[in-house]
Symmetry: C2
């Protein structure tokens, strides 16, 4: 069966592009002696995690405990969770996970440390901890190298915890300055930093410029999307996931409506300097998806010389692909249009 | 078990409020002799569809064929799909659905008519068609009563199709003008309009002011959300769905980060005249959820006198509740905080 014959709306993945994206990043990281630990939040598919491992990744990254649990259940052995896990309810499932895999977790506070220490004790297994630091994202992370050291020293006091290193997102000059300062401070305190883990697809091919980084956790690179193309880290030809959608109404000359809305494409925005609207329509680049309702995408065709017809299927590159796959129970995969399979998105909706 | 003891993030539904919301709207519609045909896109739960039917609804509304298929599979007998169903792939599942239930579908074009006519013929069952018209939403719908009549006359020529009436969203003065004009035109042509179906929660308690409307398809009213409160159609006390999220980082004095991001709350915006940010935090009304990443919500506490502590669980009313339930495989339901069940969101992700 050909992807042209699929019912819509449907997310469609080009496996050749997926493999090319994996190989390209792995080659770059190999060249610079940086480990790859891809973030599976983008695809949420065990089979693609295995493809990344086979290409040379040392392990995977998950954002949530429940995502990691899915990946452990298919046999993946080395997992980093880049998230503060906090609260009594996390202890038992975390202990179970620690029994199954080599586990690292990033934290920025003592309460996360406490939760993880309890789980490690319960499992009688060592969990490696990284300390997340602020590098310009203004999200989570300790603010100074001194705070990082203080937390690292508390880690050392716990029987089943080991201090592994530092972690941040994104990774530019600010991260570099923090790493350099922290290295000095930690050296002086006799605390070796084994791992410095950096994240992000937009800067992926510049991560070797940041001294001290030992591993990269890129996620979006496996599919790429409109925001990544805007950042310059990929081209539209590198975008491996398209959403196919049908024109289901042509109420006026300049308006087309498709069967893909915010429940298919998500409401995630495009960086305004990269473009406008809710996705890039490959077949009509001048068209603008002005508005999404839940199941409708409203397209402005005023700038199009040729305009799509009622019933026509359009191929859309989403603004932000990671939230798109998370909306769908299944994705259809193909090579050159010929369908190879329909894969359940096993870690979809795993937010806890 | 109490909802305070739940792992987070989690959508939590107050059943007393749900029942109150259902009863209040049903009483209003009964008083005005308007039928209720609630839209299940908000809850996507068979059990709540049955609650709406037991309260007096004449049937339900679905937005997509796959949603309707789920509802038919639990025994619901009268379904309106307010969507142009187009394409060969829709014919067989649509015919199956037509064999199971009393089916109505809204269309605005001949291609949808053709697809549905094929399915009806295949099933040898009559499908009732409504014509969707433009009433200010600038989405789908015929633009003039004349177009509506032309389409209605084409419906009459098909053996297993019957013309049922008109349908629109939203429903204000513009809809009223269209209905009045269409009535005259259709009367003259000898085409009775049995049903005029109006949609929308924000205007639900004013639908009696629009002459000719025979049924209302409200959806969001069952839970309500921040946008509905902003519109004046409900209060925060009428909001039946809260998202519980834990503060997992307090990197600076004025910043808290919660474990609910766009994969939990969605990126749907609040109408700027109603408020700012990505949800209303009941416990800290002055706090603003400035930014969502996939699994992080970044909260600005500058305006808060009291500030949430690390590990604290916050209750959030989402901007747009319909896209929130669609992100979650399950919802937890309770009365006065005591958990009554965990319900799989059966029609979640049903976008086709």
């Amino acid at each position: 069966m050909h992807i042209k014959d699929l019912d819509t709306p449907v997310p469609v993945i080009d496996l050749d592009r997926v493999e090319r994206n994996i190989d390209k990043l792995q080659s770059y990281l190999d060249k610079h002696g940086i480990k790859s630990r891809p973030h599976i939040k983008t695809h949420k598919l065990p089979i693609l995690a295995y493809k990344q491992l086979e290409a040379g990744a040392v392990g995977i990254t998950c954002q949530k405990l429940s995502e990691a649990t899915v990946m452990a259940a298919v046999g993946i052995k080395d997992i980093l969770i880049t998230y503060n896990l906090i609260g009594k309810k996390k202890v038992e499932p975390l202990a179970q996970l620690a029994r199954q895999v080599t586990l690292s977790i990033a934290i920025d506070n003592e309460l996360a440390l406490k939760t993880i220490a309890e789980a490690a004790k319960l499992a009688e297994k060592t969990i490696k901890l990284l300390i997340e630091f602020e590098s310009g994202n203004l999200r989570v992370g300790v603010q100074t190298p001194e705070e990082a050291l203080e937390l690292a020293q508390q880690i050392k006091q716990q029987p089943f915890l080991s201090f592994e290193g530092l972690m941040t997102y994104p990774c530019g000059a600010e991260a570099g300055r923090f790493i350099a300062e922290a290295k000095k401070l930690f050296d002086k305190a006799g605390m070796p930093i084994n791992t410095v883990s950096a994240g992000g697809t937009p800067n992926m091919y510049r991560v070797h410029e940041v001294a001290g980084v030992t591993e990269l956790r890129a996620g979006t690179y496996i599919y790429n999307d409109r925001n990544i193309v805007g950042s310059g880290a990929a081209s539209f030809d590198d975008c491996a996931l398209h959403v196919h959608a049908t024109v289901i109404s042509r109420p006026t000359v300049d308006r087309a409506v498709i069967d893909a809305g915010s429940k298919t494409l998500s409401s995630d925005q495009i960086n305004p300097s990269y473009g406008q609207g809710h996705g890039y329509i490959l077949d009509y680049p001048e068209a603008v998806i002005r508005k999404l309702n839940e199941e409708h995408g409203i397209i402005d065709l005023a700038a199009c010389k040729d305009k799509p017809k009622l019933g026509e299927v359009l191929r859309i590159i989403p603004n932000h692909v990671c939230v798109v796959t998370n909306l769908h129970d299944e994705v259809v995969v193909h090579r050159n249009g010929v369908i190879e399979g329909t894969w359940p998105v096993w870690a979809r909706g795993k937010t806890r």
